[in-house]
Chain length 352, copies 2
């Protein structure tokens, strides 16, 4: 079976066409079966393709001139869903002209357009934005929601847990990823009502392909002891950016410490392979590509400031989720949860 092509919004991102096309080309160098629908200004895309001859035959261009602005309100952008590169990229997935969409544009607008065009999966009330982060362990950790929903009730959190676990199974290969709810303590009494109710429901659920074990605090996210961290979009966004900011803070301090004396400058040069390793491990481009989970289709958000290598990662994430049929996996898990509830309401919920 050949992989459906990937629609790429060539106009999104801080640097636009050049980086998006170069990123797609880079991804294709590693996976030569990738095919693309490149959406945006035809001339600029064609010019960018000139420097990547291998991409020519693997790409079709869908021309449009309108672009969603970085600061534009989602409601405003939504009105131009039929004319903007972002809107047409998402629409290609809806029409079956592409299997997945990648955009580095305005997150809120991408969310709104994706929701409107692709709709949420049956059983999902709200999609969530999920991303991978590095850990001290062997596997990356997935955190969701990262900002698609400012608030989330218990029902949303349970759905996020199921969606996050499905994503984690694909990237880690684990049969039952370790899922935790983000909270300000691990005791049962901690946090909001929504968290406590969601914890009780996940604790009671049977038949789900995940291992739930209560709460995790935000200082443990990157220890490698948890595979999926579930939270509302406000707290998730706060935690993600706090981690990014603190990592940058420490590496900035390290840089200024290393340049504070001749001796430490020499030490830096000698230990360069070590600090390069660290830099590589922390480079956000290596973890680029946040996924909107819970839609009838795969939509991946590339960071606005991602490099071509970062875009290549986002494209590869989209292809992988398409190939592994993420959407269908989530639906199957939701059906399982629904049946478990039915069994429970028929009075034999205790029977596994």
């Amino acid at each position: 079976m050949s992989l459906p092509r990937i629609a790429v919004d060539a106009m999104g991102g801080d640097e636009g066409v050049r980086v998006m096309v170069e990123g797609a080309a880079l991804a294709r160098r590693r996976h030569d079966q990738f095919k693309f629908l490149l959406v945006g200004d035809e001339k600029r895309i064609a010019a960018a393709l000139d420097t990547h001859p291998g991409m020519r035959g693997a790409s079709e261009i869908l021309h449009c001139e309108d672009v969603v602005g970085g600061d534009e309100k989602p409601t405003q952008a939504l009105r131009r869903a039929k004319t903007t590169s972002m809107g047409l990229t998402v629409n290609a997935v809806k029409q079956g002209e592409a299997g997945a969409a990648v955009s580095a544009g305005n997150t809120g607008a991408l969310m709104a357009m994706s929701k409107l065009a692709l709709r949420t999966l049956p059983g999902i009330d709200r999609p969530a934005l999920a991303a991978l982060m590095p850990t001290l362990g062997d596997n990356d950790v997935i955190m969701l929601d990262l900002g698609a929903n400012t608030e989330a009730d218990a029902r949303n959190l349970v759905q996020f847990a199921i969606m996050g676990a499905a994503y984690s199974r694909i990237v880690t290969g684990l049969a039952e990823p370790r899922v935790r709810l983000l909270n300000i303590g691990t005791e049962e009494t901690k946090g909001t009502d929504a968290l406590r109710v969601a914890a009780a429901q996940l604790q009671a659920a049977t038949g789900l392909a995940l291992s739930f074990d209560g709460f995790v605090e935000s200082d443990k996210i990157n220890r490698g002891e948890v595979d999926v961290v579930v939270t509302d979009g406000f707290s998730g966004n706060i935690a993600l950016k706090a981690i990014e900011g603190a990592a940058r803070f420490v590496t900035d301090l390290l840089r200024s410490a290393f340049t504070s004396s001749l001796r430490s400058k020499i030490g830096f040069l000698v230990s360069r392979p070590a600090t390069e390793l660290l830099r590589h491990h922390l480079d956000p481009n290596n973890h680029n590509g946040a996924v909107f989970l819970g839609l009838n289709g795969v939509v991946v958000k590339s960071h606005g400031s991602a490099s071509a290598a970062g875009v290549a990662n986002a494209v590869t994430v989209a292809a992988r989720l398409l190939e592994e049929d993420l959407t269908h996996r989530i639906s199957a898990d939701l059906a399982e949860l629904g049946e478990a509830r039915l069994r429970a309401s028929n009075g034999n919920g205790g029977a596994k």
Copy 2:
């Protein structure tokens, strides 16, 4: 004017009496006017004092045997406010037998006991927990609330801003600390209703000794561009622990990178002064001492795992807030806000 003595819960913290007494002694070595009321098991405190002869004449022991457990629920601990070392430490401030209280025990219990014994200041609905964090700039940043209130409405947030600014003026010496509300974006439309309403109120307020300029995202907390970060206790706790966890994650990665080869081990040895500088800058003990703001009295929470140096910092924070009359400063600012509101409701709010 001699400083009122400081009540220290000698039984709190992971290591208990020895570290608490050593911490107090260390603080006194830097400020020899400090006097203490040490609350807890008389024999163990006396034994600890034996190794710090200078402390003898500066300390009185208040004996008690009961101790609040680390995992105890606040409501449960509250019933033993009259018999536990934590309860008696706080009570000493209420009775005027000490000017400030320091404890390394259970945070929730300390909050509940402090609130009950000391009550909130007129005009403050809820106290908040505030702490200092290092930045890339010249001054530390203050963040509050860090977990005293799982939720906060606009009115609470405005009060937190005023309390945080009063604290910041004392530690930074700035006349108008830069105050921001923690949010998931800097645009006016971002976040919860409570945040938007609080921002509008702080924007409109005049005569406050602070400079308010909207929202800050959590990746900017430690950049040195903000002096006070205001948030609800849930998000604040998530952000604080995420920063602590990420800093530890990066330094752990750095350690394993440095030990990955002989070359990098040598580099590490050569650049040791640089990495020591980093370690010192990030050592939580150097920023130990979270303050409960908004009470009729000074209560400082030392981290449960703080070293003697950390406890000494917490004691010094308590002494400083006492000396600079934090409580009175907050009251004065609240009165100013009240008068500004009055002026506004009389129709001349624009006149400064």
